[in-house]
């Protein structure tokens, strides 16, 4: 035997006695091979070094967790969960950008519809406030109240609601201000913000801002609708409404 031969990487030209180094480390040599390899080790420094290097690997093999079998549908579920998160984030981003545009439009007194409906004229009175009582349509028992204060930055509105049905995945409640001329096919409204309710159907002091003049604009109505997450238009059913400055 010699330590001076060519170095190899493959097994084709590797002497079988060297290959037994792995089985030596693993304790898997047959008795006669073990005796032969023990003699070989006395003169082969490469094998002694190889044993030094491979011994810890044998140690780690002993601590390996049992084989793990993944449930068959888990990959698809995981991919779907990530996709849903991506879509939700995109929808929220879209809504955020749209809301900024709507507020900008309201500030410029550009309103949806034909006439001068929800006029966004800033209040001239010193810090007036409004209280809006919200009721469910028909015989519904849901209820709410919004209290608005005029501030230097616009109208700050604190909305509290109760008795609303729980939301399904991807839904939210949205608050709107509708002008006097708002009608099906003749929309005259602007979004004021969205919110969610707790398990008991209530939400307290949800803070929203608007530049619509809640004190002086005649015929304004606050609407609360239940909306899917992906559509910025008013598409959901009306759950609460009330006159802003009755």
């Amino acid at each position: 035997m010699s330590d001076g031969g060519p170095r190899v990487g493959g097994s084709a030209d590797l002497d079988p006695v060297h290959q037994d180094v792995a089985a030596w480390v693993m304790g898997a040599l047959d008795p006669e091979d073990r005796a032969t390899f023990a003699i070989h080790l006395e003169t082969c420094s490469s094998c002694r070094e190889e044993i030094r290097v491979l011994q810890p690997v044998r140690g780690w093999l002993g601590v390996a967790a049992p084989p793990i079998e993944l449930p068959p549908g888990l990959r698809a579920k995981t991919v779907q969960a990530v996709e849903q998160a991506v879509e939700r984030a995109a929808a929220l981003d879209h809504r955020r950008r749209l809301r900024v545009r709507l507020l900008a439009a309201a500030a410029a007194v550009v309103l949806i519809g034909t006439g001068a409906a929800v006029t966004a004229v800033r209040a001239r009175d010193p810090r007036p406030s409004v209280t809006i009582a919200l009721r469910a349509p028909g015989t519904g028992t849901a209820h709410g109240q919004a209290v608005g204060h005029d501030t230097a930055a616009g109208w700050s509105v604190a909305l509290s609601v109760g008795g609303l049905p729980p939301l399904a995945e991807g839904e939210h409640y949205e608050c709107w201000y509708a002008g006097a001329d708002n009608a099906p096919g003749h929309p005259d409204l602007v979004s004021a913000g969205s919110f969610e309710v707790g398990p008991d159907g209530s939400a307290t002091e949800v803070q929203m801002w608007t530049v619509v003049d809640l004190k002086h604009q005649k015929g304004l109505t606050m609407l609360i609708t239940r909306e899917p997450d992906t559509n910025p238009a008013l598409t959901g059913p009306l759950v609460l409404s009330g006159p802003v400055n009755a």
Binding site: H18, S46, I68, A81, A85
Partner: protein, 195 residues
């Protein structure tokens, strides 16, 4: 004349780390689909095993895997490869998700009727991680290599017994064990084990 061995050495121990850091960067850049699929292939087993061991319920362990990948997607932009490997990052996420899942009221209901393992202590958690990563390294080997190593370390079989069991020539078993053990060393080194 017999030909001496080349003592094993890793060609490029940082290869896996760089490759996985690129996958996370790909997710952060918005191209998440192929990267999530590849990282799922590599880490789902570890996360599922962690969830099973920490929560004792297969359904909750599935939640751990799903939520971990959602969090990876959300936080991919904050991953800093200079501070640790993707494997370590995934483990931190998985551990945090498992803690959150455990707090859910629905988890407590499930766990009350299930065989729940004893809570894993901090040092026990390290051992659990090691066990899961070694399993992952073992699973990354070819079936031919893994088979002979498992029969040797778990079954306590000698090479000739393995040859008999698998109906293979003894020389083939010797070759597979030699290359299998080297491949295992490389797989552990790639996963930051000092071997």
């Amino acid at each position: 004349m017999t030909v001496p061995l080349t003592v094993v050495s890793d060609d490029d121990p940082g290869r896996l780390a760089r490759e996985e850091a690129r996958l996370v960067a790909q997710i952060a850049a918005g191209d998440h689909e192929p990267a999530v699929a590849e990282l799922y292939r590599r880490y789902a087993g570890r996360l599922y095993g962690l969830g099973l061991r920490l929560l004792g319920d297969a359904g909750l362990a599935e939640d751990v895997v799903q939520e971990s990948f959602v969090r990876l997607w959300r936080t991919a932009g904050r991953f800093d490869p200079s501070r640790g490997s993707v494997g370590a990052y995934m483990f931190v996420i998985g551990r945090s998700v498992a803690a959150d899942v455990r707090k859910r009221p629905s988890s407590r209901v499930l766990a009350s009727g299930a065989e729940v393992p004893e809570p894993v202590a901090e040092d026990g958690l390290d051992q659990l991680t090691d066990a899961l990563v070694v399993r992952e390294a073992l699973d990354s080997l070819s079936e031919a290599h893994r088979q002979v190593l498992v029969l040797a370390y778990q079954g306590g079989l000698t090479q000739s017994q393995i040859a008999q069991r698998l109906d293979l020539p003894l020389g083939t078993v010797k070759t597979r064990m030699f290359h299998g053990l080297r491949a295992m060393r490389a797989a552990l080194a790639e996963r930051d084990f000092s071997v």
